[in-house]
Symmetry: C2
Subunit: 312 residues, 2 copies
C-alpha cells in the first residue's frame, strides 16, 4: 500500500452517544470523516481533514494513526469541545432519532489543507456544509477524482452551495430519499438521471437494506445488501460505504466502470461489517481476509449463473 | 416445448379498470391467473383453473388459447358476471387504490380440476382464498413442486387456512410488507426465515422497485429490479413475476438452487416487461429474444466482475 495514492477525506469528527435495541455507547468515536477514513484505510493511505476539541481522547487519535491515517490535517482546538451527537434507533433501524446535537468546535470549522494534501488525487468530501466542501475543492490543485456525500439538512438549508458542489464533483453519493428531495423526482431512476444532469458523471444511491445503485454514464449497476439478521448500530453505514468505495478506487488508480462497480461492492462490504457493532468497533478487528470473504459472499448473493460459467 | 411438463395455475380471472398517471384502461384483461398464466406460457405449457362470467370476452379466451394455455379448467358461469376490479395508482406506483371490487362469479368459485390436471407436477396457487388453495392441493395427486402466492387480505382474514397452505407448499411468494405482517418480524431477513420455519423450504420476497430476495435452505440470493424510467401500469407485476418463475422451473424440470436463482431473474424479466404497458398488453407482443435480451441485461446490472472473468 506504500506506493498507493492517498485519499483526502474531509468531514466531521465526533463523539457519539447512541442507543439501539441491542445496546448503547457513550461518547464513542464517530463522525463521517472517522467512519469513512477508517473504512478507506483498508484499501489506501488516508489524509484526514477535520477538527476536534481538547476533550477528544488521545486513544481515538492513536487508533486512527494505527490505521495509517495521516492526521496532519486534523485541527485541535485545545480550549474547545468536540462535536457531539446523541441519538437512538428504535426497531426501524432506518430512522435515526436525534436527542442532542452540540456542534462545538465544528461550528467554526474552516478546513485548511496542509501543503502535501493539496496534491491529493482522490478526494472525498464527506457529509458537511457544502460551503466547506467548496472550500476544500478550491484548495486541491489537480484531483483525478472528486466524490461528495451530503444529507437532507444541507438540501434544505444550503441548496445553492450544494448545487455548486454537484457541478464540480465527479461522483455524488446520496440516499434515495435525499435524491428524490433534491430533484423532485419520485422515481429513483429519474432522480439519479436528474442528478447526473446537474454535474456528476456518476451517482451512487444508497438504499440501506435494499443495497445501492450505481449510475455512471448510461451504465446501471445494482448491489444487494448483505443479509444481516442482527444490526447492532446503523450509525456510519453510509460513511463506511463511501470510505470503502473511494479507498478501493484509489487503490486501483482507475476510474473505469468495472472498477466503480467493484468499489460499490467493497463499500457495501465495509458498511455491512460496520453495522455489526457500535461505533467503529467492528472495524478495529477487521482483517483483509474478512473483506475478501464477504466480497465473495456478495457474488454468491448477486450471481445467478455458476461462478465459473458466466455465459448466458 | 411440447415435451415440457405443464404448469397448473389456479387463481382469479378478472376484468380490470385501471388508471395511472400514464393513462387508463376499462374492463381490460386482468386477474392473477391470467397474468401468471400468460407469463408462464413463455416457458412451459399452462393448465389454467379459474372462473369467468358470460360477459368475459371471447377475444380474451382466444388470446389465452393463442399462448398455448389449456382452458379446460376454466369454468364459465353463463348467467354470471366476471370478477371486476377498479382502481388507480397515483405517482407512488407501489400503492394501489381500490375504487370498486365486484367478486361476481368469483364469490362462489370452487376450483375443480379436470382429470388430466390432477397429474400436474408443477402447481402455482396464485393469490386467492387460501381455503381454495387447499382444495386444489387436495386434488393434485403427486406434484413435484407446489408454489403459493397470497396477500394482506388473507393474512388478516384467513390466517389459519393460510398457515395450513404454507405447511404444505414448497415455495411461498410474498411481498416484504406481507412477510412482516404474517410473521411479526420487522427485519425482512428474519421474516423470511420465520416463513421458512412455517413450512416452505423456499421463500421469495417481492420488493417491487427494490427487486426480489430468494431464501432457499441457507442460500440467499438477491435479484435487482430492472431500471424502468416509466411504468405504465404496475398491476400484475407480482403475478407475472411468479408466472415467469414457475414457468422457467417447470421448463427445466429441476429444483436446484441454481435453477431457482435463474427462475427469479426470469420472473423479474417478465414483471419488468409487464409493467411497461396496461393490462397484459406488453406480453401480447413479447418475443423469446426480448426475454433473452433482458435476462442478459440483468447480468450487466448485477455482476461486478467482467462477465468472462468471474474469479475474485
Amino acid at each position: 500500500m506504500e506506493n498507493h495514492l492517498p485519499v483526502l477525506i474531509v468531514g466531521s469528527m465526533a463523539l457519539d452517544s447512541v442507543r439501539t435495541p441491542v445496546g448503547a455507547v457513550q461518547d464513542a468515536l464517530g463522525g463521517a470523516a472517522d467512519y469513512s477514513g477508517v473504512a478507506a484505510s483498508f484499501f489506501s493511505p488516508v489524509q484526514l481533514v477535520g477538527v476536534v476539541g481538547g476533550d477528544f481522547p488521545q486513544a481515538h487519535l492513536d487508533f486512527l494513526a494505527s490505521r495509517g491515517i495521516d492526521l496532519a490535517g486534523v485541527q485541535t482546538v485545545a480550549e474547545g469541545k468536540t462535536f457531539r451527537w446523541a441519538g437512538y434507533y428504535d426497531f426501524d433501524l432506518n430512522i435515526a432519532h436525534t436527542l442532542d446535537t452540540q456542534l462545538n468546535v465544528f461550528a467554526d470549522f474552516q478546513p485548511s489543507l496542509p501543503e502535501a494534501y493539496k496534491k491529493a488525487k482522490y478526494v472525498f468530501l464527506a457529509n458537511i456544509d457544502p460551503e466547506l466542501q467548496l472550500q476544500v475543492l478550491n484548495q486541491v490543485e489537480s484531483p483525478l477524482l472528486t466524490v461528495c456525500d451530503t444529507m437532507n439538512f444541507w438540501i434544505e438549508g444550503k441548496r445553492e452551495a450544494l448545487v455548486e458542489v454537484l457541478k464540480r464533483v465527479d461522483i455524488a453519493f446520496m440516499n434515495d430519499a435525499e435524491a428524490r428531495q433534491l430533484t423532485g423526482q419520485l422515481s429513483v431512476i429519474k432522480a439519479a438521471k436528474a442528478l447526473q444532469a446537474m454535474g456528476p458523471k456518476t451517482v451512487i444511491i444508497k438504499k440501506g437494506e435494499h443495497g445501492a445503485l450505481l449510475f455512471s454514464g448510461s451504465t446501471h449497476f445494482a448491489a444487494p445488501s448483505y443479509p444481516l439478521e442482527e444490526i447492532a448500530d446503523p450509525t456510519g453505514a453510509g460513511d463506511s460505504f463511501a470510505g470503502g468505495f473511494i479507498g478501493y478506487v484509489a487503490s486501483r488508480n482507475d476510474q473505469s466502470v468495472a472498477t466503480l462497480k467493484k468499489a460499490v461492492v467493497y463499500g457495501s462490504v465495509m458498511a455491512s461489517y460496520n453495522v455489526e457493532d457500535f461505533s467503529l468497533n467492528r472495524l478495529r478487528t477487521l482483517t483483509g481476509d474478512d473483506i475478501a470473504n464477504r466480497y465473495r459472499a456478495f457474488k454468491e448473493i448477486a450471481y445467478f449463473e455458476a461462478l465459473d460459467d458466466a455465459s448466458v
